[in-house]
């Protein structure tokens, strides 16, 4: 082994000497660490690109709610009926936007399951990136994808039969449907840290469909029925009602707000608990 060392040394003396100088100087100086725990635009842009390149995600978050809207919200005889400050088509548009945003944010959050399974989260721990910054990137990605999901359905609605009395209602309902989805970003993160699976969305897809039913996104639940009573305690219930309120003209109910706050707390606490376990140095 000594011979191999000597030969390589002589062949690279010139480059080695300059490099060695900088190395020694560097060893004496402390190096800067990145701000914001490593959160940066390049990371965010690449995360978004990954999401938008994933055909499966696009089909489920963008295409499916759009198709549902066209199937159930356009052309049927009920579509043009009055729904308060707009028509039923607009009501279904808000529902499908909320549904799309919910899938988008859940799947983006749950992506941590895949990244844990691949050892990527462990790799990131060999960089200055803080776990909190990583989660912030995941939530930001989730919300951007959620915004796209809402936008797609709203554009289709505007181009077809959705009708609301004022532009402000379009803005209010879309922003509420979108913002409420942050609860599901937390849900996705919680599940992503909880389930050790590369295909976590195969488990969560049906769960989300049930929760969407609970929120009355697919069909209005019969008032006073047992099903409707149970539904009031599911996590999409509050968000769906709050997002539709500007359109229907219903006044805000305390129960909706309590529902959203309660589930947001549960999912955030769950995600934080699992994340701490995952990133703990043992």
């Amino acid at each position: 082994m000594t011979s191999s060392t000597t030969t390589t040394t002589t062949s690279t003396t010139t480059t080695a000497s300059t490099a060695a100088t900088t190395m020694t100087d560097g060893a004496r100086a402390n190096r800067p660490t990145p701000g914001l725990g490593g959160f940066n635009p390049t990371l965010l842009a690449l995360e978004l690109r990954r999401v938008l390149r994933n055909r499966r995600t696009l089909v489920f978050t963008l295409a499916m709610p759009a198709v549902f809207f066209l199937l159930f919200g356009v052309g049927a005889d009920y579509a043009g009926r009055d729904a308060g400050r707009g028509n039923v088509s607009a009501f279904i548009m808000v529902s499908m936007a909320a549904y799309g945003a919910m899938i988008a944010t859940t799947s983006s959050g749950a992506a941590v399951a895949t990244e844990r399974a691949l050892g990527w989260s462990r790799q990131l721990r060999l960089t200055p990136l803080r776990p909190v910054a990583y989660v912030a990137v995941k939530i930001a990605t989730a919300m951007v994808l959620g915004a796209v999901a809402v936008l797609v359905v709203y554009v289709l609605g505007a181009l077809t039969s959705a009708d609301m009395d004022a532009v402000g209602l379009w803005v209010a309902t879309s922003v509420l449907a979108w913002a409420g989805a942050v609860v599901f970003a937390a849900f996705g993160l919680f599940m992503g840290y909880l389930l050790p699976s590369e295909n976590v969305m195969q488990v969560l897809g049906p769960v989300l469909a049930v929760l969407a039913f609970g929120g009355g996104l697919f069909m209005p639940l019969e008032e006073g029925s047992t099903l409707a009573t149970i539904a009031e305690f599911t996590p999409m219930y509050g968000i769906a009602n709050i997002a539709h309120a500007p359109l229907t003209g219903d006044s805000l109910e305390l129960a909706w707000v309590v529902n959203v706050v309660a589930w947001a707390t549960v999912f955030t606490a769950g995600a934080a608990w699992r994340m701490r376990r995952d990133t703990a140095r043992v």
Partner: protein, 316 residues
Amino acid sequence: MTTTLDATAPARIRAGAPAISLRGVTKSFGPVRAVRGIDLEVQPGEVVAFLGPNGAGKTTTIDLLLGLSVPSEGAVELFGTTPRSAVEQGLVSAVMQTGGLLKDLTVGETLRLTASLFSDTTEPADAMRRAGILAIADRRVGDCSGGQQQRLRFAMALLPDPHLLILDEPTTGMDVSGRRDFWAAIRQDAERGRSILFATHYLEEADAYADRIVLVRKGRVVADGTAAEVRALASGRSLRATLPGASADDLAQLAGLRGVDGCEVRGDTVLVHSRDSDAVARHLLTRTAARDLEIEARGIEDVFLALTADDDGADQ
């Protein structure tokens, strides 16, 4: 990117501090004592092989060095600071054995992403060139071969221009030429004055690429020195002879001979390690029914086996 370095933080590296300092480090997982007391110092510029059989505590020690876990007892310092602080400053980076890559990113994207996490890095293209993967920058990671993925991990590790590079069994699963290319890149890089510590269970790798070999077994260092020094531990020879029905008495006599380090029976064969092979040969051929005697010089392989064999006789 802002620079936030608090003068009072314990995050400061100490001038003249060793690249690695492990003092009395132990690590237990419940009843399992993976690391049982390791003291190790690695100076800047040293290339050290961390050699040992599977389960010797190599990966556990590397996790401790990288701040992925904390020791049960003892102290771990890199450049006089904590592992986490060294990681955050880009002073240390690592090439792990498997995983740690996103299949849906391209090689180039993976490096851009990793580079964005550090406050100061070398150009991704430069890292790719040095790792020999510039030509496959646009390839999806999932489409890369095992060797290409490993060189991608190496390129990622080069990005912060670390003073210390840690490699955990870096050539596992590579073919011979892939392994040679990988080591050529590492070796060339080491000329720049970087400290390198690599875990391996390939003896020839330790022998060929390290300035110093640290042999671990059962969570302890059992030998530490240059390859030549470690080989010298095996200054004797191995003798092998057919001796049907060797009794405990025969063995005791052999073990009692001058210079014998160890002897064992495998079926009808006796194996003796001795620094005085002549004495053993004379004894076997004149005092016992042994036949088919073979005598071999011991290589580093035998040192490895002797020092890492799973019997308490080799304990130090």
